[in-house]
């Protein structure tokens, strides 16, 4: 089967918008859900929830650290509390509060960071969150999710509400290609193998999932069979999928819209090192980016299908 027939990759809504819609569904299901935002509700799309349930929407003003701790207080008192802002602000300004008021006492706060990665584009590096997954993974007890499209984002928000501990969910600004059919299941510690292949395994999440699929199509045309895995749950990570990939493909590429040093690449590599080491290559960022259209910035900083293809060629050259 030609892989190009399997995924149309039609553009859907941005994952932040899917998040906003999922919050409304949650709100309808459960009167216990409350949502906090910090003067960005039009951008995070928590304004959908505010419109439906104004009495359960908590505007905190431009004060992210305070918002995180307010959210933790709401959660500790039994509310299903979501706090949302740009990922760069909620995770960086709120980190100490996340650590002390949510992670360490295991308070089930749900944190959603939107406009993550560099695909926010024109606003530039001060608003680009390229270290959020790393920071979130450095909060013991947190489940960390980075869904790729609107279907998986909706499912992950419902999942976040069901998980008993604290959760961080990463969302993006730009429209995301649709990868999943509605009804697909997602769970903590899960991943989805989107394409089968045995020459190389490509792990990706977020926007890079569609790029990985495009890369696999291009490689298929050259007779290279690439397995593509959406590692949407960054923590706990799907160790079995990694072990299978490293034993069956014996070459792995990890692609992410995040700093390479500390992102999912290092987490996948750790599992490989602990179990079945194999050659690996990493596609990601090495420093702060700059302003530009999302497409121009992703291209300039090497986060496109062609960059994944190049990494695959490198890893295959080293494969024994």
């Amino acid at each position: 089967m030609s892989v190009s027939t399997k995924y149309e990759l039609k553009l859907g809504v941005a994952t932040r918008e899917a998040f906003g819609k999922a919050l409304v569904e949650l709100g309808q299901k459960d009167p216990n859900v409350v949502v906090c935002d910090a003067d960005l509700s039009k951008s995070t799309y928590t304004n959908f929830f505010e419109k439906e349930f104004p009495e359960r929407f908590v505007e905190c003003g431009i004060a992210e650290a305070n918002m995180v701790a307010i959210g933790a207080g709401l959660a500790a008192a039994g509310k299903t509390a979501f706090v949302a802002s740009f990922s760069a602000f909620v995770i960086n300004k709120g980190f100490e509060q996340l650590r002390v008021t949510a992670a360490y006492p295991n308070v089930p706060l749900k944190v959603v960071g939107t406009h993550s990665g560099i695909s926010i584009g024109e606003d530039g590096p001060s608003q680009m969150s390229i270290e959020d997954l790393s920071l979130a993974c450095n909060l013991p007890g947190f489940t960390v999710l980075a869904p790729a499209d609107e279907v998986s984002m909706k499912a992950c928000i419902h999942l976040a509400a069901e998980i008993h501990g604290p959760v961080f969910v990463r969302a993006g600004r730009s429209k995301a290609a649709i990868v999943y059919t509605p009804g697909t299941e997602f769970h903590s510690g899960g991943s989805h193998q989107l394409l089968d292949g045995n020459d190389v395994a490509i792990f990706a999440n977020g926007l890079l999932v569609a790029e990985a699929i495009r890369a696999a199509e291009a490689l298929d045309a050259e007779g290279i069979s690439a397995r593509v895995i959406d590692i949407y749950c960054v923590k706990p990570i799907d160790r079995d999928a990694i072990v299978r990939a490293s034993t069956e493909c014996r070459a792995i590429v990890v692609a992410e819209e995040h700093l390479k040093d500390t992102g999912i690449g290092s987490r996948v590599a750790q599992v490989c090192a602990e179990t079945t080491p194999c050659v690996m290559e990493f596609v990601g960022l090495t420093t702060y980016a700059e302003s530009g259209t999302p497409e121009a910035v992703l291209e300039h900083y090497g986060l496109m299908a062609k960059d994944i293809v190049a990494a695959v060629k490198n890893v295959l050259a080293r494969k024994k």
Partner: protein, 273 residues
């Protein structure tokens, strides 16, 4: 660079700056016109009259320093700095494009004459206080000016900085609050009210002067009063209109962060003729 204390001449520069703001945001198809237009007289009065600085020697140790806490309003700063001769005027329309020195928020990697990279609200006043304190350590006459948004001062760090400035008697800093009464999601009074704002700054130990932030002569007087005020920092609470100078942008939260269309740009430029 035009240096003048004549309010009428400064007003002419302000109009040119407003035109740049509209044109560069239109060209970029994104950006923040409202808060750039509200701060125009403030930034022009500082750079073209009050501040001691030298575009041909941007790292002069004793220069006065300027920090735009509300970094999203950088079109006003870029336009004023370009008109002063720091950077090319004819490149303003590359704003927000890949490779442009005119980044979406002030970025010292691209324009070394900027004093700080801002864009995450709430940090500029602290950095400014550090620079003002350094001037004191060095026995330098340098003054530091920091422009903050009224939404921005909801950040707790602002009030930590306010306490610090008063405690350390940092009288070579002036904090200007661009009190345009609108933030991102709407009106400040609906999101997180700040009143009584002048009393807040006074109770934190700042000499506080309320002015019409579009009245250049009043701004000049306030900056001179700040210079004469010893033993405590000064806050200039500048009452402004978000979107000032473009009738359809004035007082309308929509224009916090949206770019005008080509037609809207033409209309705006007519008003700024």
């Amino acid at each position: 660079m035009t240096k003048t204390s004549n309010p009428a001449e400064l007003a002419v520069i302000a109009k040119t700056v407003r035109r740049h703001i509209i044109e560069m945001i239109t060209a970029a198809k994104s950006g923040h016109p409202g808060g750039s237009l509200s701060a125009t007289e403030i930034v022009v009065t500082l750079f073209n009259d009050i501040m001691k600085h030298d575009p041909s020697n941007p790292k002069w140790a004793d220069r006065d320093r300027f920090i735009l806490g509300k970094g999203h309003a950088c079109p006003v700063l870029y336009s004023v700095m370009a008109e002063c001769g720091y950077t090319p005027v004819d490149k303003l329309n590359t704003f927000r494009a890949l490779g442009s020195i005119y980044q979406g928020h002030p970025d010292v990697r691209f324009i070394p004459a900027l004093e700080a990279s801002t864009g995450s609200l709430g940090q500029g006043l602290s950095v400014g206080l550090g620079m003002a304190l350094a001037a004191k350590f060095n026995g330098s006459p340098s003054r530091t000016f920091v422009v903050l948004g009224d939404g921005e001062i909801q950040e707790g760090q602002i009030w930590e900085a306010a306490m610090f400035g008063a405690a350390r008697k940092i009288d070579n800093i002036v904090c200007i609050v661009d009190n345009n009464r609108i933030q991102l999601d709407g009106f400040v009074k609906d999101i997180m009210p700040l009143e009584p704002l002048a009393d807040k700054w006074r109770s934190f130990g700042w000499h506080t002067i309320e002015v019409d932030g579009h009245d250049i002569a009043a701004l000049q007087a306030a900056f001179h009063e700040a210079e004469a005020t010893k033993g405590m920092p000064t806050c200039v609470l500048a009452h402004t209109v978000k979107g000032k100078g473009v009738s359809f942008m004035e007082n309308n939260p929509k224009w916090h962060g949206s770019a005008p269309s080509k037609e809207e740009c033409a209309l705006a430029l007519q008003e700024l003729a």
